[in-house]
């Protein structure tokens, strides 16, 4: 699975993109974030306030409860401020 990080999520995680093998029991965006938090202090810090972090699957906004089945690219970022 391709994971992307933007803005302060990227800065805290210390990485902007990576390819990872997600554990089989991960079903939703929330599961991915919970798993990411276990990957060391940078990710723990990046996903500490996970309730404010937004996600996109294959470049479409999704909720934390959305299933990731079929996804090829998941992005995590703070609330957007376009315009």
């Amino acid at each position: 699975m391709k994971l992307l990080y933007f803005a302060w999520v990227r800065e805290k995680a210390g990485i902007d993109r990576e390819d990872v093998d997600l554990p089989d029991d991960i079903e939703t965006i929330a599961d991915v974030m919970a798993w990411l938090k276990t990957r060391g202090p940078e990710f723990e810090s990046a996903f500490e306030a996970s309730n404010v972090i937004r996600a996109a699957i294959d470049q479409t906004h999704v909720k934390h409860t959305t299933a990731i089945a079929g996804a090829t690219e998941i992005a995590f970022f703070p609330p957007v401020t376009g315009g």
């Binding site: 933007f6 470049q59 479409t60």
Partner: protein
């Protein structure tokens, strides 16, 4: 039409290109967002816009399509810049052209409200005090939600 670019734009040229040769347009509204020197904690030296290449284009196209479905537009354009900008610089341009002015005004407001809440951009301000990510504003979520109710009257 949508464009995501680092370089600046000229409002007059964009409007001319969009409406050239057209005689079915009566009203053209443009909105230009600019970098305002108004950080809470002192003067902004610069602002850097990060975005999500690929998703940005997808979201802008989706938002533009939605506006065209809601209002009878003869033409529309969204240009969004990214990269490092300084106070006074242009950030975003929205142009809507319609036979009547109310449709053009409403569609432009709709596009801006949705850009604020849906376009994957993040802004980092640099000032004498250091760097700071700009928070998304709750008032922007409210502005976007007002379009999800019954459709406003449009000519």
């Amino acid at each position: 039409m949508i464009r995501v670019q680092e370089n600046d734009f000229d409002i007059g040229k964009e409007v001319r290109d969009l409406t050239a040769g057209r005689t079915d347009i009566g009203a053209i509204v443009t909105f230009t967002g600019t970098v305002r020197d108004s950080a809470k904690d002192g003067a902004i030296a610069s602002m850097t816009l990060e975005h999500y290449p690929g998703m940005t284009e997808k979201e802008l196209a989706r938002i533009e399509k939605e506006a065209n479905a809601r209002w009878p537009l003869q033409a529309s354009l969204i240009i969004h810049r990214y990269g490092r900008l300084t106070p006074g610089d242009n950030i975003v341009l929205v142009v809507t052209a319609s036979a009547h002015r109310h449709a053009a005004f409403e569609a432009a407001e709709f596009l801006m409200d949705y850009l604020k809440t849906n376009a994957p951009f993040w802004k980092k301000e640099s000032s004498g005090d250091g760097e700071n990510w700009v928070d998304a504003r709750q008032s922007d979520d409210g502005a976007s939600e007002r379009w999800s109710g019954p459709r406003k009257a449009a000519e």
